[in-house]
Structure formats: structure tokens, C-alpha cells
């Protein structure tokens, strides 16, 4: 079974189409998914496109947008003897004082997990309290919902930090002078939520939203569909990833999320509070909420360090190379801001893949 779509010939054809379709002015296309940025940069897609097509990553990186107070809560739990489990990059991003990895080297029990079910397994095999730092967008939330709705062990709980993508896209469109001409909607978030949630955005802002897959040809195809909508002046919510996304999304996953979580206002690091953009646990599941079970309510910490341009990068208003610290004081080995920590964040990705060669 072949799932790779990256042949040169089709790519060239799609690029030809894009070159013919693109208007004469600068066009700013925003995507909101670290995996899209990796695919774009790793495959050198920007180098195939006319300069005036400007593709940016929005807040598609959970590590970058998790507010410091959530990170501090995780650290405090670990310092208080709780076993804290989290996905990879979450261990490296510092809160106000330290990261989970640092607190681990001080003797705390911190474990990297690949799946929430691993965290459950850890809880089943210990008497200690085990907390799972539940971060991620709609692709990752159904999994947490699934385990919570199946009688998890009593010593298990979650630090809820899940967020929603469509409100984040809306907040970008609400920024003055954002000049966004179109969105590539994230493929696998859309696998869960479908295409329908993007309709209100198109309705309010008349901006093309095309769901894109992650293979290089998928990205080029989604771009072409956006440009077509622009030239036809007919903005719509369109599915450019039909093999991976159905219009109604994944009903079972949606049911799981709806049963366990409810929408809540949420703080996005570097952006601020976005209404109804996060998820909190419903009353029925509150006992699995680590912030209720434990005394962890640290004050809001320092969200943005001086001279760090992460807030502008994640709102697609600056590129990493426009930051003075990029590659100098701020590198993956010694990151200054969160956008250099996450493997899905633009600064980290650009550093590792060399950005866009000016060829």
C-alpha cells in the first residue's frame, strides 16, 4: 500500500498550476500545524514556489502555546512527589523556573510517554499518584477522553491543557492588519473535527480554508486549491485531504471529547486569552482533574521573555530569521523561548532544516 505522495513530475505540474494561479501581489498563507511546517521545510517546498507566496506557521505547536502556569503546575506536582508523565518536548520546555527534565534531574519521577495509555499503565503499576499532562489539539484529545471514560485507576489524573484549533485560527483573523489570504487547515485535526467547523470562519472573514494532507503533493495541492479560490473570489471551506478526512469528521472521537470535556476560555502563551479555545473536564470527570485533586495553582508566570519574538512567530507575524536571537543566543541546544524548544515550532524547525535557502 502506497501512502507516499512525493513524485517530482506531479510536483512540477502542481507548481506550474500554482505559478499560473497566483495573483501578482504577495499572498500570505497560514497553516497551524507543526507537522505541516516539517513537511514544508524538510521537502524544500518554499524553494519551489514563487517568492510572493509567503507560507507561515501559526500557533500549531502545543509546547509553544501551553501557558507557563500549566508548566509550573506540572513541575510543582513533580516536586511534590507525584509521578508526572508527558509527551516528549513537554519535558524540555521551561516554566517560570524550570522544565520537567530539570526537575527530574533533581530526583523527581518524570516519565516520557508516547501515548496516554502508557500513562495509565504506569498508574496501574504503582501506588503513587500519576498525572498525565494532557496537551495537544483535537487530534490528541480523543485519546485522553477515551481513557478517562473507561474507569481509569484511582491514582491517575490529568493536567488538562488541551486546546482547539478553529478558535485559534479565528483569533489570528481578528488581529488588525493580519493580511491572511488563506489557511491550510491541519489534516489530522480535521480527521477528528471534519470540515464543518471551518465554515463559520469562512462565513465571518471570507477567507479560503482548505484542509491539507502532509505529503509534499498534498501540500502543493492544498495551496493550489486556496489560490484557485482566491482567483475565483469564492472563499469556502474545502477538503483537500479526502483520503484522510470526511466532511463530518470522526463521530466516535467527537462523542468521546463531548462526553468528557467542555469548552472553556483558555490562555495561549504569547497570545493571551482566547475565548472558548480550550477544554476543561465536565463535572462528571472532575475527580480526574489534577488541579482539583492537588494543591497546584501557581500564579500566572512570565509568559514572554525580553526580546523573544515567539508571540509574533506563532501568530504568523514574524519569521524566525527576523529575530535577532535566532541561531545566536537561541538555538535548540540552549533555547531562549518556547518556539525553539518544540520540534513542531517554526524556530526549531527552521534551525534544524536551514529555513529557506535563498536560491
Amino acid at each position: 500500500m502506497k501512502f507516499k505522495f512525493k513524485d517530482k513530475e506531479r510536483a512540477r505540474e502542481l507548481v506550474n498550476l500554482i505559478e499560473k494561479e497566483v495573483p501578482d501581489r504577495r499572498v500570505k498563507i497560514v497553516h497551524v500545524c507543526g507537522t505541516h511546517e516539517v513537511s514544508i521545510t524538510e521537502n524544500g517546498i518554499r524553494s519551489l514556489l514563487p517568492d510572493r507566496i509567503d507560507i507561515r506557521e501559526g500557533p500549531g505547536c502545543p509546547v509553544c502555546v501551553t501557558p507557563t502556569k500549566d508548566l509550573d503546575a506540572a513541575v510543582k506536582l513533580a516536586e511534590n512527589g507525584v509521578t508526572v508523565t508527558a509527551f516528549g518536548d513537554m519535558l524540555d520546555v521551561p516554566g517560570t523556573e524550570k522544565s520537567l527534565k530539570e526537575v527530574e534531574s533533581e530526583g523527581a519521577d518524570v516519565r516520557l510517554v508516547y501515548s496516554v495509555s502508557e500513562a495509565i499503565e504506569i498508574a496501574e503499576n504503582t501506588d503513587n499518584q500519576v498525572v498525565f499532562h494532557s496537551v495537544g489539539f483535537e487530534t490528541t484529545t480523543p485519546m485522553t477522553a477515551a481513557v478517562l471514560s473507561q474507569n481509569p485507576p484511582e491514582n491517575f489524573s490529568i493536567l488538562p491543557s488541551n486546546k482547539l484549533i478553529p478558535p485559534a485560527m479565528r483569533s489570528l483573523l481578528e488581529l488588525p492588519n493580519n493580511d491572511i489570504d488563506g489557511f491550510i487547515a491541519p489534516g489530522h485535526v480535521s480527521t477528528i473535527i471534519g470540515v464543518e467547523p471551518y465554515e463559520p470562519l469562512v462565513e465571518s472573514y471570507e477567507v479560503p480554508v482548505v484542509v491539507g494532507g502532509f505529503e509534499p503533493l498534498d501540500v502543493l495541492y492544498a495551496l493550489e486549491l486556496i489560490l484557485k479560490q482566491i482567483s475565483e473570489a469564492d472563499p469556502r471551506a474545502e477538503n483537500g485531504y479526502e483520503r484522510g478526512v470526511d466532511y463530518e469528521g470522526n463521530p466516535r472521537s467527537q462523542q468521546l471529547i463531548d462526553a468528557v470535556f467542555r469548552k472553556a476560555d483558555s490562555t495561549w502563551r504569547g497570545v493571551g486569552e482566547i475565548p472558548e479555545s480550550g477544554l476543561g473536564l465536565k463535572k462528571k470527570y472532575k475527580r480526574w482533574d489534577a488541579t482539583e485533586r492537588f494543591d497546584v495553582d501557581p500564579e500566572a508566570g512570565e509568559e514572554v521573555l525580553p526580546n523573544c519574538r515567539c508571540p509574533e512567530v506563532i501568530t504568523a507575524r514574524a519569521t524566525p530569521d527576523e529575530c535577532d536571537l535566532f541561531g545566536e543566543q537561541c538555538t535548540p541546544d540552549s533555547p531562549y523561548g518556547p518556539c525553539m524548544v518544540g520540534e513542531e515550532a517554526m524556530c526549531n524547525i527552521w534551525y534544524r532544516y536551514g529555513g529557506r535557502p535563498k536560491l
Partner: protein, 82 residues
């Protein structure tokens, strides 16, 4: 956080499937999937859970979709409409 990889279902047992993802066998949970799953099906797997059923037809269709777009545009060009 979108990384999801396609894999082939080798066997299933209640809400678990053994899936061959890139030559590596993994246990995948099916709780988050709507449809039923049989050996031979393909799944998109994210953090150990299935999020979508894929099919060879749909994968083939993807190429057809690209080709159709390319062809349509070529025809329009020839007709002098682009």
C-alpha cells in the same frame, strides 16, 4: 501535533488491533474509531490510537485527484482559457 502514520491491521481483539506500521508491529487502540476494523484494513494511527480507516482505493484516488486537476488545467490552457 498531527503526526499520524498509516499501518496495516494484522489482527484485532475487542478494542485492540495489531497493526504493522512501517514494518514495526504495534498495538493500537480502536476506541477512537467509528468504523469496524478487519485484518487487511489500513488505519491512520496517532499516539497509539486509530483515528481514521484508510483504503487502497482512497489512496489511489488521491493520485487521480491530483492528475485530474493537472489535466483539467492543461485542457483549459489548450483551449486558450487560461
Amino acid at each position: 501535533m498531527c503526526l499520524a502514520i498509516p499501518g496495516e491491521v494484522l489482527s484485532t481483539e475487542e478494542n485492540l488491533a495489531t497493526v504493522d506500521v512501517g514494518g514495526v508491529e504495534q498495538e493500537v487502540r480502536l476506541d477512537t474509531l467509528t468504523e469496524n476494523v478487519d485484518p487487511g484494513d489500513y488505519l491512520l494511527v496517532h499516539t497509539g490510537f486509530a483515528i481514521q480507516k484508510l483504503s487502497q482505493e482512497e489512496a489511489n484516488e488521491t493520485l487521480e485527484i491530483f492528475d485530474e486537476l493537472i489535466e483539467t488545467n492543461k485542457e483549459l490552457e489548450e483551449e486558450g482559457e487560461v
